[in-house]
Subunit: 83 residues, 2 copies
């Protein structure tokens, strides 16, 4: 089995209203040291072992997990003993 950790973030320059909202809330709570907040998605997938897992993950990111127009993605793969 594989555990795949996928990180999806907005591309630089893309407005992040969610991040702005969190930043504003933190300032309201007196965390003035916070200069910028970017919010993205973090996903953990459990997948059966097969040769082409890497290319499958790449495909899934491009087709569903991330929006290639406005988002960047990166992933990490680790083998896990039967989950």
């Amino acid at each position: 089995m594989y555990k795949i950790k996928v990180y999806v973030t907005l591309k630089q320059g893309v407005l992040d209203p969610q991040g702005k909202a969190v930043e504003k809330a933190l300032h309201t709570m007196d965390y003035d040291q916070v200069q910028d907040v970017r919010v993205g998605k973090y996903m953990e997938l459990i997948m059966e072992k097969s040769e082409n897992v890497g290319s499958k993950v790449e495909e899934m990111c491009q087709r569903l997990l991330a929006n290639p127009v406005i988002e960047d993605y990166r992933y990490e793969m680790e083998e896990v003993v039967g989950q």
Copy 2:
């Protein structure tokens, strides 16, 4: 400056409808190797340097960034040259 990477995930045992929806969509797209999907939040914060950054981040996670009742959080801190 510090870049703080915060990972917020649902606690084990907490139902993850978003994860189930993504899993179902991936199966519809013939990615049958996918056994489980958990969806969480990934945040990047830029913070000014100060002694108690660690405790501030802990506080922000507990008070706003994560819901301690149903979510777990972890974070990584790295020093960055003026952003």
